[in-house]
């Protein structure tokens, strides 16, 4: 099997594994540097997680469910939604998910200078198994509290949908972040807006939306795949069991589009470089 993988790719994979270990160690050192830091950080994450899901949960309690969703199913949706956000935080922390900040601030150069392929750094630099785990843990607890298990399908399908939702968040984020190649200052915080959009809509059942708006949320702005559609299909609330494969399929399409747009941005960046980077490290 190993002979079929090109030597360069194999070397990159080895580098990736080493870097993941390195970033995990640094993350432990960062969070454990003082007890107050760790306590404040986890408390803040839990408050944030509760803030993301509380409105929908309170609505479900008040109205004994939301539309076709029972209370337990709404809790499952919220747990899934938090878990997606938590996995994004764990694997793509430190502004790797908010890549527009790195591009806009000229910090992408810090990555390009390293003798490692960019994709390896994207997969390694945001790895924060401790500092990024607050929301993932909350999501796990909320899922457990829902009493719905991992849905009506196999655990493998749950994991596949979860990873697909994470990939969709990142693909969407990178597609928009590419604007920062063209307008570094104006688009530096564009990923704050994309993430805000996802955070504010992810935890709501979208069943009541009209077909036009729902179409937008399942195509141009693919928030429907971040929690609503996968949770709905995993719980067996859809008409066809085959819809459980829709989120993974959408992930392939959205990540491909995101990578293609990002690649075009990179080609532009190779010609222009960063207009905001200064030798002393501060941005204009």
């Amino acid at each position: 099997m190993a002979d079929r993988i090109p030597v360069g790719t194999l070397r990159s994979i080895v580098q990736l594994v080493r870097l993941l270990g390195l970033y995990a160690r640094m993350d432990v050192m960062w969070i454990a540097r003082a007890r107050s830091t760790a306590v404040t950080f986890y408390l803040a994450e839990w408050v944030l997680g509760f803030g993301i899901v509380a409105s929908t949960w309170l609505l479900a309690e008040r109205f004994d469910g939301i539309g076709p969703w029972s209370r337990a199913q709404v809790v499952f949706l919220l747990g899934y939604s938090l878990l997606v956000r938590g996995v994004v935080d764990m694997l793509f922390g430190w502004n790797v998910a908010h890549i527009s900040r790195r591009i806009g601030r000229g910090q992408l150069d810090h990555m390009l200078l390293q003798p490692v392929p960019l994709w390896v750094l994207v997969l390694a630099e945001g790895f924060s198994p401790l500092s990024g785990s607050g929301l993932a843990l909350s999501g796990g607890v909320v899922l457990w509290l829902s009493g719905e298990g991992l849905g009506v399908f196999t655990p493998a399908l749950f994991v596949l949908n979860l990873l697909a939702s994470v990939a969709i968040v990142i693909g969407f984020s990178y597609a928009w972040a590419s604007l920062a190649f063209l307008a570094p200052r104006a688009a530096e915080e564009i990923n704050s807006s994309t993430m805000d959009l996802i955070d504010q809509v992810r935890a709501f059942p979208l069943d009541g939306l009209g077909p036009g708006l729902l179409g937008v949320l399942l195509s141009v702005v693919p928030i429907g795949y971040v929690a609503w559609l996968p949770a709905r299909s995993l719980l067996g609330l859809t008409d066809s069991p085959w819809l459980v494969w829709l989120t993974p399929l959408a992930a392939i399409g959205i990540v491909s589009i995101g990578l293609s747009i990002f690649g075009r941005g990179m080609r532009h960046y190779r010609a222009t470089g960063s207009t905001r980077y200064l030798a002393l490290g501060h941005r204009r």
């Binding site: 408390l43 408050v47 803030g51 509380a54 309170l58 609505l59 688009a187 709501f204």
Partner: protein
Amino acid sequence: MLGLEWRQWRSTAWLSASAHLGDSRLFVFDYAIRALRVAVLVSIWTMLIGDDPDSSPLPLPALLTYTIVAEAFAHAIHLQTGLANAFWNGSLVNYFLRPAGVVRQFAAESAGHAVFDFMLFSLPLLLVAACLGIDVVPESLESGLLFGLSLLLSLAVGLAIEFIAGAIAMVSEQPIWLIENVRRALSRLLSGAVLPLAILPFGLGDVLEWLPFAATAWAPLAIYTGIEGGTRLIALQLGWAVVLWPLALGLWHWNREKVVAYGG
């Protein structure tokens, strides 16, 4: 003296509003996000209450008005100055060097943004909502006038909370974005900006309306929609403004030397 202060305030607000347009035309993206959020909330209210009006303590038209007005005045009821950003990028020191009060500068900047947003986003939102049949005018003339007063008090309380959060970042020596995330999460949940407090289960609304967060959103919105009378809510807002401002100014006065820790 007052004339000079007013000119400073007005110029800062104008600079802030024009910078908003000049620095980043991508604010349109933020408007799209806000419009989408409103559409989702409106559809959820309609789905929940449309078929069964008795299921809710508040009628559907009042909830829709509440949602639209909350978004139209989001700048005031979710008051966010540039304080956190100034902490983060070290530009806070510039505010201390200028010949104007620090609080006044942040308030003026925020007002500039708010006016700009109101013209470009809130007015069109109110117009579109009205065209779609959502009643966006205040419950009565008295409600409208009291809403104006309540909104001013909401700004006063929101600004005090903003500066207390900044002071907590100074005192605790924790990253400002951590404190800011917590403040935003708590504010969104406890203020009644997303869900009216009267609709919360377990009697939570009766407790939350006594907290300062409710003075920023629930009070003006409940007055506007006629869900509650104004006198008690305005008295509560006034009380919180009187309590929080000395606290905010005191915390800043006692801890301002720690600001240098965040410079650079």
